[in-house]
Protein backbone atom coordinates (compact mmCIF):
# COMPACT_ATOMS: atom_id res chain seq x y z
CA UNK A 1 0.00 0.00 0.00
CA UNK A 2 1.41 3.37 -0.94
CA UNK A 3 1.60 5.96 1.79
CA UNK A 4 -1.11 8.67 1.93
CA UNK A 5 1.47 11.39 2.44
CA UNK A 6 4.79 11.08 0.68
CA UNK A 7 7.45 13.72 1.09
CA UNK A 8 10.72 13.48 -0.80
CA UNK A 9 13.81 15.63 -0.46
CA UNK A 10 12.11 18.57 1.26
CA UNK A 11 14.36 21.57 1.60
CA UNK A 12 13.31 25.00 2.79
CA UNK A 13 15.30 27.94 4.04
CA UNK A 14 14.26 31.31 5.42
CA UNK A 15 17.02 33.71 4.58
CA UNK A 16 20.24 32.33 5.97
CA UNK A 17 18.63 29.70 8.17
CA UNK A 18 17.92 26.28 6.77
CA UNK A 19 14.62 25.12 8.24
CA UNK A 20 14.45 21.83 6.37
CA UNK A 21 17.51 20.09 5.02
CA UNK A 22 16.31 17.17 2.96
CA UNK A 23 13.42 15.29 4.52
CA UNK A 24 11.93 12.06 3.21
CA UNK A 25 8.80 10.93 4.94
CA UNK A 26 5.93 8.49 4.42
CA UNK A 27 2.72 8.59 6.42
CA UNK A 28 0.12 5.87 5.95
CA UNK A 29 -3.59 6.43 5.67
CA UNK A 30 -5.20 6.42 9.11
CA UNK A 31 -1.84 6.66 10.85
CA UNK A 32 -1.40 8.90 13.90
CA UNK A 33 2.05 10.44 13.84
CA UNK A 34 3.66 12.65 16.43
CA UNK A 35 6.30 15.07 15.19
CA UNK A 36 8.82 15.86 17.90
CA UNK A 37 12.03 17.75 18.14
CA UNK A 38 13.63 20.71 19.83
CA UNK A 39 12.38 24.25 19.23
CA UNK A 40 13.53 25.64 15.92
CA UNK A 41 14.23 22.19 14.54
CA UNK A 42 11.86 22.73 11.62
CA UNK A 43 8.80 20.83 12.91
CA UNK A 44 6.34 23.57 12.01
CA UNK A 45 7.92 24.21 8.62
CA UNK A 46 7.64 20.49 7.89
CA UNK A 47 3.95 20.57 8.84
CA UNK A 48 3.37 23.66 6.69
CA UNK A 49 5.06 22.00 3.73
CA UNK A 50 3.06 18.80 4.12
CA UNK A 51 -0.18 20.82 4.27
CA UNK A 52 0.69 22.97 1.27
CA UNK A 53 0.70 26.14 3.37
CA UNK A 54 4.30 26.79 2.42
CA UNK A 55 6.05 25.58 -0.71
CA UNK A 56 9.45 23.93 -0.17
CA UNK A 57 12.45 25.33 -2.03
CA UNK A 58 12.96 21.88 -3.46
CA UNK A 59 11.47 18.46 -3.03
CA UNK A 60 7.93 17.16 -3.45
CA UNK A 61 4.91 16.42 -1.30
CA UNK A 62 2.09 14.28 -2.54
CA UNK A 63 -1.09 13.57 -0.65
CA UNK A 64 -3.33 10.77 -1.87
CA UNK A 65 -1.53 10.79 -5.18
CA UNK A 66 -1.93 14.55 -5.73
CA UNK A 67 1.33 16.40 -6.08
CA UNK A 68 0.64 19.23 -3.63
CA UNK A 69 3.86 21.06 -4.43
CA UNK A 70 2.79 21.46 -8.06
CA UNK A 71 -0.59 23.08 -7.33
CA UNK A 72 -1.45 26.76 -7.56
CA UNK A 73 -2.28 28.66 -4.37
CA UNK A 74 -5.98 28.57 -5.27
CA UNK A 75 -5.94 24.78 -5.77
CA UNK A 76 -4.03 24.34 -2.54
CA UNK A 77 -6.65 26.50 -0.77
CA UNK A 78 -9.33 24.22 -2.12
CA UNK A 79 -7.36 21.17 -1.03
CA UNK A 80 -6.98 22.56 2.48
CA UNK A 81 -10.69 23.24 2.56
CA UNK A 82 -11.78 19.73 1.61
CA UNK A 83 -8.93 17.40 2.54
CA UNK A 84 -7.16 18.98 5.52
CA UNK A 85 -8.13 20.18 8.95
CA UNK A 86 -6.01 22.33 11.26
CA UNK A 87 -5.77 22.72 15.01
CA UNK A 88 -3.35 25.08 16.72
CA UNK A 89 -2.24 25.77 20.24
CA UNK A 90 -4.73 28.58 20.93
CA UNK A 91 -6.55 31.60 19.56
CA UNK A 92 -7.75 30.04 16.35
CA UNK A 93 -11.47 30.63 16.79
CA UNK A 94 -13.02 33.74 15.30
CA UNK A 95 -13.68 35.80 18.42
CA UNK A 96 -16.84 37.40 17.06
CA UNK A 97 -18.57 34.15 16.20
CA UNK A 98 -20.32 31.76 18.58
CA UNK A 99 -18.93 28.25 18.92
CA UNK A 100 -21.47 26.80 16.53
CA UNK A 101 -20.99 29.60 13.97
CA UNK A 102 -17.25 29.02 14.10
CA UNK A 103 -17.79 25.42 13.13
CA UNK A 104 -20.06 26.29 10.22
CA UNK A 105 -17.39 28.41 8.51
CA UNK A 106 -15.52 25.59 6.69
CA UNK A 107 -18.85 24.09 5.66
CA UNK A 108 -20.08 27.41 4.27
CA UNK A 109 -16.77 27.85 2.49
CA UNK A 110 -17.33 24.46 0.93
CA UNK A 111 -20.69 25.68 -0.33
CA UNK A 112 -23.06 24.06 2.12
CA UNK A 113 -26.40 25.75 2.89
CA UNK A 114 -26.43 27.70 6.15
CA UNK A 115 -29.21 25.63 7.70
CA UNK A 116 -27.51 22.32 6.93
CA UNK A 117 -24.19 23.70 8.13
CA UNK A 118 -25.74 24.68 11.46
CA UNK A 119 -27.21 21.21 11.89
CA UNK A 120 -23.87 19.59 11.13
CA UNK A 121 -22.08 21.98 13.48
CA UNK A 122 -24.44 21.25 16.35
CA UNK A 123 -23.92 17.56 15.78
CA UNK A 124 -20.13 17.99 15.81
CA UNK A 125 -20.32 19.93 19.07
CA UNK A 126 -22.48 17.22 20.56
CA UNK A 127 -19.91 14.55 19.72
CA UNK A 128 -17.31 16.53 21.67
CA UNK A 129 -19.64 16.96 24.62
CA UNK A 130 -20.11 20.69 24.02
CA UNK A 131 -23.78 20.81 23.08
CA UNK A 132 -24.39 23.33 25.85
CA UNK A 133 -21.71 25.74 24.66
CA UNK A 134 -23.05 26.18 21.12
CA UNK A 135 -24.07 29.79 21.55
CA UNK A 136 -21.11 30.93 23.59
CA UNK A 137 -18.40 33.19 22.23
CA UNK A 138 -14.82 31.91 22.29
CA UNK A 139 -14.02 34.45 24.99
CA UNK A 140 -16.57 32.74 27.25
CA UNK A 141 -15.12 29.24 26.79
CA UNK A 142 -12.40 27.59 28.87
CA UNK A 143 -9.15 26.71 27.15
CA UNK A 144 -10.08 23.05 26.86
CA UNK A 145 -13.54 23.85 25.52
CA UNK A 146 -12.08 26.23 22.97
CA UNK A 147 -9.66 23.53 21.79
CA UNK A 148 -12.48 21.06 21.44
CA UNK A 149 -14.47 23.57 19.39
CA UNK A 150 -11.40 24.03 17.20
CA UNK A 151 -11.16 20.26 16.80
CA UNK A 152 -14.83 20.05 15.91
CA UNK A 153 -14.31 22.76 13.32
CA UNK A 154 -11.26 21.02 11.87
CA UNK A 155 -13.05 17.68 11.60
CA UNK A 156 -16.49 18.85 10.51
CA UNK A 157 -15.56 18.70 6.84
CA UNK A 158 -14.37 15.09 7.32
CA UNK A 159 -10.87 15.78 6.07
CA UNK A 160 -8.48 12.97 5.23
CA UNK A 161 -5.65 14.57 7.21
CA UNK A 162 -5.78 16.53 10.43
CA UNK A 163 -2.73 18.70 11.11
CA UNK A 164 -2.30 19.69 14.73
CA UNK A 165 0.41 22.02 16.03
CA UNK A 166 0.78 21.66 19.80
CA UNK A 167 -2.96 21.13 20.18
CA UNK A 168 -2.70 20.79 23.96
CA UNK A 169 0.26 23.09 24.47
CA UNK A 170 -1.64 25.65 26.49
CA UNK A 171 -3.69 23.27 28.61
CA UNK A 172 -3.11 21.67 31.99
CA UNK A 173 -2.47 17.91 32.16
CA UNK A 174 -6.03 16.83 32.76
CA UNK A 175 -7.61 19.18 30.20
CA UNK A 176 -4.92 18.19 27.74
CA UNK A 177 -5.70 14.56 28.27
CA UNK A 178 -9.42 15.04 27.83
CA UNK A 179 -8.92 17.01 24.64
CA UNK A 180 -6.47 14.45 23.28
CA UNK A 181 -8.67 11.48 24.07
CA UNK A 182 -11.62 13.19 22.41
CA UNK A 183 -9.58 14.10 19.34
CA UNK A 184 -8.01 10.65 19.05
CA UNK A 185 -11.35 8.94 19.42
CA UNK A 186 -12.85 10.94 16.55
CA UNK A 187 -9.76 10.54 14.41
CA UNK A 188 -9.54 6.77 14.89
CA UNK A 189 -13.25 6.34 14.35
CA UNK A 190 -13.20 8.20 11.04
CA UNK A 191 -9.87 6.76 9.94
CA UNK A 192 -8.44 10.28 9.65
CA UNK A 193 -4.68 10.61 9.38
CA UNK A 194 -3.32 12.78 12.18
CA UNK A 195 -0.01 14.61 11.99
CA UNK A 196 0.58 16.25 15.34
CA UNK A 197 3.46 18.43 16.41
CA UNK A 198 4.18 18.11 20.10
CA UNK A 199 7.05 18.53 22.48
CA UNK A 200 5.24 16.56 25.13
CA UNK A 201 6.13 12.83 25.23
CA UNK A 202 2.88 11.96 26.94
CA UNK A 203 0.99 13.52 24.05
CA UNK A 204 3.25 11.79 21.58
CA UNK A 205 2.51 8.51 23.33
CA UNK A 206 -0.98 8.64 21.87
CA UNK A 207 0.49 8.37 18.40
CA UNK A 208 1.21 5.21 16.49
CA UNK A 209 4.74 6.41 16.04
CA UNK A 210 6.78 9.50 16.41
CA UNK A 211 9.24 11.14 14.08
CA UNK A 212 11.93 13.34 15.46
CA UNK A 213 13.13 16.38 13.57
CA UNK A 214 16.53 17.74 14.48
CA UNK A 215 18.29 20.55 12.60
CA UNK A 216 15.94 20.22 9.68
CA UNK A 217 16.49 16.51 9.29
CA UNK A 218 14.75 13.43 10.58
CA UNK A 219 16.52 11.59 13.37
CA UNK A 220 18.26 8.52 11.98
CA UNK A 221 15.72 5.98 13.16
CA UNK A 222 12.88 7.76 11.39
CA UNK A 223 14.38 7.98 7.94
CA UNK A 224 12.44 6.24 5.25
CA UNK A 225 13.70 2.72 4.72
CA UNK A 226 15.78 2.62 7.87
CA UNK A 227 13.03 1.37 10.12
Amino acid sequence: MTALIQARGLRKSFGATDALRGIDLDIQRGEVVAVMGPSGSGKSTLLHCLAGVVLPDSGTVSVGGILVTALTEARRSALRLTEFGFVFQFGQLLPDLTAVDNITIPLLLAGMKRRQALTAAHEALGRLGLAGAADQLPGELSGGEAQRVAIARALVTQPSVLFADEPTGSLDSLAAENVLTAMLELVREAGTTLVMITHDPRTAAYADREIIVRDGQLAAADRVGIQ
Partner: protein
Amino acid sequence: MDNSLTLLGLLSVEPSYGYDLKHTYDRFFGVRKPLAFGQVYASLARMTRDGQILALADEAGGGPDRKKYEVTEVGRTRVSQWMFTPDIPSDTLQSNLFAKTIIALLVDDNADRLLDVQRTEHLARMRELTREKQGADLMRVLLCDHALFHIEADLRWIDLTAARLTQLRNEIKLP
Protein backbone atom coordinates in the same frame (compact mmCIF):
# COMPACT_ATOMS: atom_id res chain seq x y z
CA MET B 1 24.90 0.78 36.23
CA ASP B 2 27.10 -2.02 35.21
CA ASN B 3 30.56 -1.34 36.67
CA SER B 4 32.50 -3.97 34.83
CA LEU B 5 31.04 -2.98 31.44
CA THR B 6 31.89 0.60 32.21
CA LEU B 7 35.46 -0.36 33.05
CA LEU B 8 35.61 -2.39 29.87
CA GLY B 9 34.39 0.69 27.99
CA LEU B 10 37.06 2.84 29.59
CA LEU B 11 39.72 0.30 28.70
CA SER B 12 38.61 0.41 25.06
CA VAL B 13 39.62 4.06 24.94
CA GLU B 14 43.24 3.14 25.53
CA PRO B 15 45.20 0.44 27.38
CA SER B 16 45.53 1.31 31.04
CA TYR B 17 46.85 0.19 34.42
CA GLY B 18 44.35 -0.87 37.03
CA TYR B 19 45.36 2.04 39.21
CA ASP B 20 44.80 4.61 36.45
CA LEU B 21 41.59 2.90 35.45
CA LYS B 22 40.16 3.38 38.92
CA HIS B 23 41.01 7.07 38.88
CA THR B 24 39.54 7.63 35.41
CA TYR B 25 36.38 5.85 36.56
CA ASP B 26 36.16 7.96 39.67
CA ARG B 27 36.63 11.13 37.68
CA PHE B 28 33.55 10.46 35.54
CA PHE B 29 31.31 8.26 37.60
CA GLY B 30 32.66 8.12 41.15
CA VAL B 31 31.81 11.56 42.32
CA ARG B 32 29.41 10.25 44.93
CA LYS B 33 30.75 6.74 45.37
CA PRO B 34 34.35 6.05 44.33
CA LEU B 35 35.16 2.51 43.22
CA ALA B 36 37.18 0.32 45.64
CA PHE B 37 40.47 -1.02 44.29
CA GLY B 38 39.38 -4.52 45.13
CA GLN B 39 36.31 -4.16 42.97
CA VAL B 40 38.43 -2.97 40.06
CA TYR B 41 40.81 -5.90 40.26
CA ALA B 42 37.97 -8.36 40.66
CA SER B 43 36.33 -7.01 37.53
CA LEU B 44 39.61 -7.05 35.63
CA ALA B 45 40.17 -10.66 36.62
CA ARG B 46 36.66 -11.63 35.46
CA MET B 47 37.03 -9.79 32.15
CA THR B 48 40.44 -11.44 31.58
CA ARG B 49 38.83 -14.79 32.24
CA ASP B 50 36.06 -14.02 29.71
CA GLY B 51 38.66 -13.01 27.12
CA GLN B 52 37.41 -9.44 26.90
CA ILE B 53 40.76 -7.99 27.97
CA LEU B 54 44.27 -9.26 28.23
CA ALA B 55 47.18 -8.21 30.39
CA LEU B 56 50.14 -6.85 28.48
CA ALA B 57 53.66 -8.17 29.28
CA ASP B 58 54.56 -7.52 32.88
CA GLU B 59 56.64 -4.52 33.42
CA ALA B 60 59.34 -4.09 36.05
CA GLY B 61 58.24 -4.52 39.68
CA GLY B 62 55.17 -6.46 38.69
CA GLY B 63 52.22 -6.90 40.99
CA PRO B 64 48.61 -6.72 40.16
CA ASP B 65 48.60 -2.93 40.13
CA ARG B 66 51.59 -2.81 37.79
CA LYS B 67 49.82 -4.69 35.02
CA LYS B 68 48.63 -2.86 31.92
CA TYR B 69 45.40 -4.17 30.38
CA GLU B 70 44.17 -3.90 26.81
CA VAL B 71 40.74 -4.65 25.39
CA THR B 72 40.34 -7.52 22.96
CA GLU B 73 38.11 -7.73 19.93
CA VAL B 74 35.65 -9.73 21.99
CA GLY B 75 35.73 -6.96 24.57
CA ARG B 76 35.10 -4.25 21.98
CA THR B 77 32.10 -6.09 20.58
CA ARG B 78 30.73 -6.49 24.08
CA VAL B 79 31.06 -2.75 24.74
CA SER B 80 29.37 -1.80 21.48
CA GLN B 81 26.56 -4.27 22.09
CA TRP B 82 26.08 -2.85 25.55
CA MET B 83 26.01 0.73 24.34
CA PHE B 84 23.44 0.30 21.62
CA THR B 85 21.09 -1.94 23.47
CA PRO B 86 18.46 0.28 25.01
CA ASP B 87 17.66 -0.37 28.59
CA ILE B 88 14.22 -1.15 29.79
CA PRO B 89 12.94 2.16 31.08
CA SER B 90 13.18 1.92 34.86
CA ASP B 91 14.19 3.90 37.90
CA THR B 92 17.69 2.51 37.90
CA LEU B 93 18.27 3.13 34.26
CA GLN B 94 19.70 6.59 34.49
CA SER B 95 23.22 5.93 35.70
CA ASN B 96 23.70 3.20 33.15
CA LEU B 97 22.51 5.42 30.30
CA PHE B 98 24.80 8.12 31.57
CA ALA B 99 27.73 5.73 31.62
CA LYS B 100 26.92 4.57 28.12
CA THR B 101 26.84 8.10 26.84
CA ILE B 102 30.17 8.98 28.42
CA ILE B 103 31.81 5.87 27.11
CA ALA B 104 30.39 6.46 23.65
CA LEU B 105 31.86 9.91 23.65
CA LEU B 106 35.19 8.66 24.99
CA VAL B 107 35.51 5.96 22.37
CA ASP B 108 34.27 8.41 19.78
CA ASP B 109 31.21 6.35 18.91
CA ASN B 110 27.78 7.72 17.93
CA ALA B 111 26.34 9.03 21.19
CA ASP B 112 23.47 10.68 19.28
CA ARG B 113 22.32 7.38 17.96
CA LEU B 114 22.55 5.82 21.36
CA LEU B 115 20.23 8.46 22.76
CA ASP B 116 17.83 8.14 19.81
CA VAL B 117 17.62 4.42 20.27
CA GLN B 118 16.88 4.93 23.91
CA ARG B 119 14.30 7.59 23.13
CA THR B 120 12.52 5.27 20.75
CA GLU B 121 12.48 2.59 23.43
CA HIS B 122 11.08 5.05 25.95
CA LEU B 123 8.36 6.25 23.63
CA ALA B 124 7.42 2.72 22.74
CA ARG B 125 7.00 2.00 26.42
CA MET B 126 4.94 5.13 26.84
CA ARG B 127 2.68 4.12 23.97
CA GLU B 128 2.25 0.76 25.63
CA LEU B 129 1.29 2.38 28.91
CA THR B 130 -1.02 4.85 27.13
CA ARG B 131 -2.77 1.96 25.38
CA GLU B 132 -3.08 0.22 28.69
CA LYS B 133 -4.90 3.24 30.08
CA GLN B 134 -7.65 3.00 27.50
CA GLY B 135 -10.71 1.52 29.11
CA ALA B 136 -8.84 0.75 32.32
CA ASP B 137 -10.16 1.62 35.77
CA LEU B 138 -8.94 4.77 37.45
CA MET B 139 -6.51 3.00 39.76
CA ARG B 140 -4.85 1.33 36.83
CA VAL B 141 -4.83 4.66 34.94
CA LEU B 142 -3.13 6.41 37.83
CA LEU B 143 -0.54 3.66 38.06
CA CYS B 144 0.17 3.96 34.36
CA ASP B 145 0.38 7.74 34.71
CA HIS B 146 2.96 7.32 37.45
CA ALA B 147 5.11 5.22 35.17
CA LEU B 148 4.51 7.59 32.29
CA PHE B 149 5.67 10.63 34.24
CA HIS B 150 8.87 8.84 35.27
CA ILE B 151 9.64 7.77 31.77
CA GLU B 152 8.86 11.26 30.60
CA ALA B 153 11.42 12.61 33.05
CA ASP B 154 14.03 10.27 31.55
CA LEU B 155 13.04 11.40 28.10
CA ARG B 156 13.50 15.01 29.03
CA TRP B 157 16.95 14.16 30.34
CA ILE B 158 17.70 12.38 27.05
CA ASP B 159 16.57 15.40 25.07
CA LEU B 160 18.61 17.75 27.20
CA THR B 161 21.70 15.55 26.98
CA ALA B 162 21.29 15.14 23.25
CA ALA B 163 21.25 18.92 22.94
CA ARG B 164 24.45 19.19 25.01
CA LEU B 165 26.53 16.40 23.52
CA THR B 166 29.08 18.64 21.88
CA GLN B 167 29.68 20.54 25.08
CA LEU B 168 29.95 17.28 27.02
CA ARG B 169 32.39 15.84 24.51
CA ASN B 170 34.69 18.81 25.01
CA GLU B 171 34.56 18.61 28.76
CA ILE B 172 35.42 14.95 29.18
CA LYS B 173 38.42 14.86 26.87
CA LEU B 174 40.91 12.64 28.68
CA PRO B 175 44.02 14.53 29.59
